[in-house]
Symmetry: C2
Subunit: 204 residues, 2 copies
DNA sequence: TCGAATAGTTACCGACCGGTCACACCTATG
DNA sequence: CATAGGTGTGACCGGTCGGTAACTATTCGA
């Protein structure tokens, strides 16, 4: 058991160093040797902890997603019993991430890059994104907006879109208005219920 | 000169076959041999037309972006002198692409995958996305909405976000509400000017 | 129809890929 | 202090990578 704990401790250290390792190169574009170097270790040690490169990627993504889950707990604790303040705090935090992280969410990038069907990372990505969606939707619902599902998905899309847009056109592209777009969306759903799709004449 | 035209014709055929070639595998995940097979030719012919794999990727992206430019002309022709109808038509067309294309915009995917600085594809991607942004913003402005720049960037982010979100969580994720989100955004900017960020109490 | 330009084929290059092996080296714990 | 569990090192495997050479077959324009 003590050995097990020793190994686990080592893995956590590895994960932390691995977290920002795929950012520059992507997942296919980096070799296991380079990964090992970034993790300040060597290839054999990596292969003693993980069955394969794909397995390693999965575990690294899982680690990242668990760290992100902690963010939500922090968010709820920061404004207890004030979901609207939490929602605004979420926007602010996402805008901060957008400004800080040069390359967006690892999970989202992995979804784009590893799109061959059946890649083991897919279930990690999907579980993470669905969990995020659930929490955001709950937040919107608790905040009492008129259409919580629609607002939640709008904010999700704005967030993902801002990140890929920043990769494509830099920080002076559409992503520069991410925060204002979120605020406008929230504001438009705050008033009772009437201005969603009735003024746009589209059938189906 | 005639030979030049002959070669150019061949290149166009190659491009058309290449267009959907990177969709399944990404750009790093496919070898030149496989690319040649997908283009129904062989590696030597590819290398006689393009200097390198990166060059080939750039040209393929450029071809795709030129095809996309034609879409805008079609859009304007479909509803002459009715920018709001064009805007709604844009939303509908993007929703259709979202439903049809299994993997989103090649240019956006390339931006995510080829994020090493200095990759020659970056200028192609950036030029394309900025051009799209300009046209969308002009459309919003002509449609007479209250904040054309903000609406345009909101729609851009929703579009990019819907695509990556679909890759991450499938068509039942946030992307399922892409069209409604766009319509709500347009609607909220149609009325005079007052509901953008004043109800959300955020300083800075 | 002739000749030049292009396409196809095959084999090949060095480099690197993911992954494994054997073996020496640490280091924490009994 | 002995030892088992973990780490570091370097060589190695077969396969594939991007890219090229040499040569033949085909096609198209004058």
């Amino acid at each position: 058991m003590t050995v097990c704990r020793r190994a686990r401790r080592r893995e956590i250290v590895l994960f932390q160093r691995l977290a920002s390792c795929f950012d520059n190169t992507g997942f296919c574009g980096i070799g296991v040797d380079a990964i090992a170097e970034a993790a300040e270790t060597n290839k054999m040690t990596l292969y003693r902890h993980f069955g394969s490169k794909d397995d390693l990627i999965c575990e690294a993504l899982r680690f990242t997603s668990e760290k992100a889950a902690a963010f939500w707990d922090l968010l709820e604790a920061s404004h207890p019993n004030d979901p609207m303040a939490q929602l605004q705090s979420w926007v602010k935090a996402r805008a901060q991430c957008l400004a800080d992280d040069k390359y967006g969410c690892d999970l989202a990038n992995a979804a784009v890059e590893l799109k061959e069907q059946g890649h083991p990372a897919h279930v990690v990505i999907e579980n993470f994104k669905l969990a995020q969606r659930r929490r955001l939707e709950k937040l919107c619902r608790d905040a009492g907006v008129s259409e919580p599902e629609l607002l939640s998905d709008t904010l999700s899309m704005l967030m993902e879109g801002a990140q890929v847009s920043k990769l494509a056109t830099g920080s002076e592209g559409p992503s520069m208005r991410f925060m204002r777009a979120c605020e406008a969306a929230i504001a438009s759903f705050r008033q009772p219920a009437r201005n969603t799709a009735d003024t746009v004449g589209s059938e189906a």
